[in-house]
Amino acid sequence: MTGSELGRYIIRRLLQTVPVVLGVVVMNFLLLQLAPGDLATVLAGEAGGAPKEYIDQLRQRFGQDQPVLVQLFNYLRNIVFLDLGYSFRQSAPVLDLLLARLVPTLLLMGATLIVSLGIGVLTGVLAALWVRTWKDHLVSVAAIVFYATPLFWVGLMLILLFSIHLDWFPTSGMEDVVAFHEGWARVVDIAHHLVLPTITLSLFYLALYARLMRASMLEQRGLDYVTTARAKGLTDRQITTRHVFRNALLPVVTMAGVQFGGLLGGSVVVESVFAWPGLGQLAYQSLFARDFNLLLGIFFLSSCLVVTVNLVVDLVYVVLDPRIRIG
């Protein structure tokens, strides 16, 4: 594959993401229209009631007296300029609030991806090597149990065991704010806080990847190229690590990309259990403040993240697997 082909593929793939992002924006707008009571009535209600003239004036100021299509156009134009609206509860632009919470969430996502993919793939490979032994059954049973466990409950159980009874890990937050750690001490502190949320969010995906990797390894092991490799005189170990493993990994990578949206959804629950100061916790807070601008902003940003991750996975795929034609 030449560089320019890859460049053209990237551009085409980028263009494909436009309708999705646009769709999310339009849907956000429609949902805002559905929301009970517009901003003007909410603000007026909070002030303890207001005369009708004042409400009309507020509507005019927010552009809510315009026809719906004009409002939609304004909404789209604002999004293009990265103006996601204003959170009247937090008295700050939505974008600023989101950016402040993005890093903790990405940290949690990244740690979860590494743990779930790393341990999941390893477990899947081992289970495939031990196929039909008691160890393989043990892995299968563990995977099917983790697969059925609600995330928030795992989080609470881990807190019960490791924070309340054993006192090994902190129950909540991202760092010990009153300790004023700096440099490496701060990194260690954050890592210490990261352990339980990461395990909680990882378990489900770990189980998923382990099952998929096991099935994928077993499927690949029966293919012709393995026979060829064996005929060439390669050892079992070489066949497994150089051939079977690499091919078996591809569906798992795809699945990891597909599951990223689910991971973000799970982070809402996990962040609210562990008071992790990320986007999920912000979503939880905005729910009860009925701060729809903020909630929809989070939904928009999360959708953009998912689209970006899918794009990256597709590109990684093309680079990894020369059989995939991009014509």
Binding site: Y147, W153, G261
Partner: protein
């Protein structure tokens, strides 16, 4: 080759799953007989430990945990089953129409399906309920809205495979209307993957419902397992059973449905079962 019944019921995992599911469904149906009092009623001292006056203890307000569990089974199962039925119905229609008509309809509807698969589904459900306001009906709507795409894909694939077969062409020649062909000829042939995917969806719906109720977005005035965990989480230090008991109930029920769903899959596709 053994019969479907033997392959399905002879599987010990399926038998275990069906036994637990049967229990949960029976409890859900008989909730008013087993626990005639309102599960929100205060019946004793708060934080009574299990195995005392109350089998599963009482919560922070002195409500009976066992009664909550029984009525929670009804709420959780009802919402999960209804939202799955709605998702299966809608997904099957979309899948059948896209697969049958192809071309532009297929393009438009499949792009829409992909769109719904791309956006983060749990967040979308949260947004929907936050805006529609929490209620049992809106929970069903939200969960169904985020879970129909896999059904549409499965049905579309099956319809594409069946569409060009002779018996469908015969129906076309015989002058049957499109809708009649879809319902009487094509859809019955997509049933087995539909049943498998649908049964696994119930498990996902239970997880969604409990997570939403845990976050406080559940149906108000309806006891549910997720709500019980959310209400008990602040008292974990003193009363572990408030979180443990409903959590185990969710875990076992989801596990049971997954076991039965996979058993169905193995029994319907015996050639794949050995993989």
């Amino acid at each position: 080759m053994r019969s479907f019944r033997q392959r399905f019921l002879g599987n010990p995992r399926v038998a275990l799953g069906l036994a637990w599911l049967g229990l949960v469904v029976a409890v859900a149906l008989l909730a008013d007989v087993l626990a005639p009092k309102d599960p929100f009623a205060i019946v004793g001292a708060p934080f009574a430990p299990p195995a005392g006056d109350f089998v599963l203890g009482t919560d922070s307000l002195g409500r009976d945990v066992a009664a909550g569990l029984i009525h929670g089974a009804r709420t959780t199962m009802l919402i999960a089953v209804l939202s799955t039925l709605a998702a299966v119905g809608f997904g099957a229609i979309v899948g059948a129409v896209t697969g049958y008509y192809g071309k532009l309809v297929d393009d438009v509807l499949m792009r829409t399906t992909e769109f719904f698969q791309t956006i983060p589904s749990f967040l979308f459900a949260i947004v929907l309920i936050a805006i529609l306001s929490p209620s049992a009906v809106n929970l069903v709507i939200a969960i169904a809205t985020v879970s129909w795409p896999p059904i549409a894909r499965v049905v579309r694939g099956e319809v594409l495979a069946v569409r060009s077969r002779e018996f469908v062409q015969a129906a076309v020649v015989a002058g049957q209307r499109d809708s009649a062909i879809l319902v009487t000829q094509v859809l019955p042939n997509t049933l087995s993957p539909l049943i498998v995917t649908g049964s696994l969806l119930v498990a996902t719906a239970i997880l969604f419902e409990s997570a939403l109720s845990f976050l406080g977005l559940g149906a108000p005035n309806q006891m549910s397992w997720g709500f019980m965990i959310g209400a008990g989480r602040s008292f974990m230090r003193e009363a572990w059973w408030l979180v443990m008991v409903p959590g185990v109930a969710i875990l076992l029920t989801v596990l049971a449905i997954n076991l039965v769903g996979e058993g169905l899959n193995d029994a319907l596709n015996p050639r794949l079962a050995d993989l």
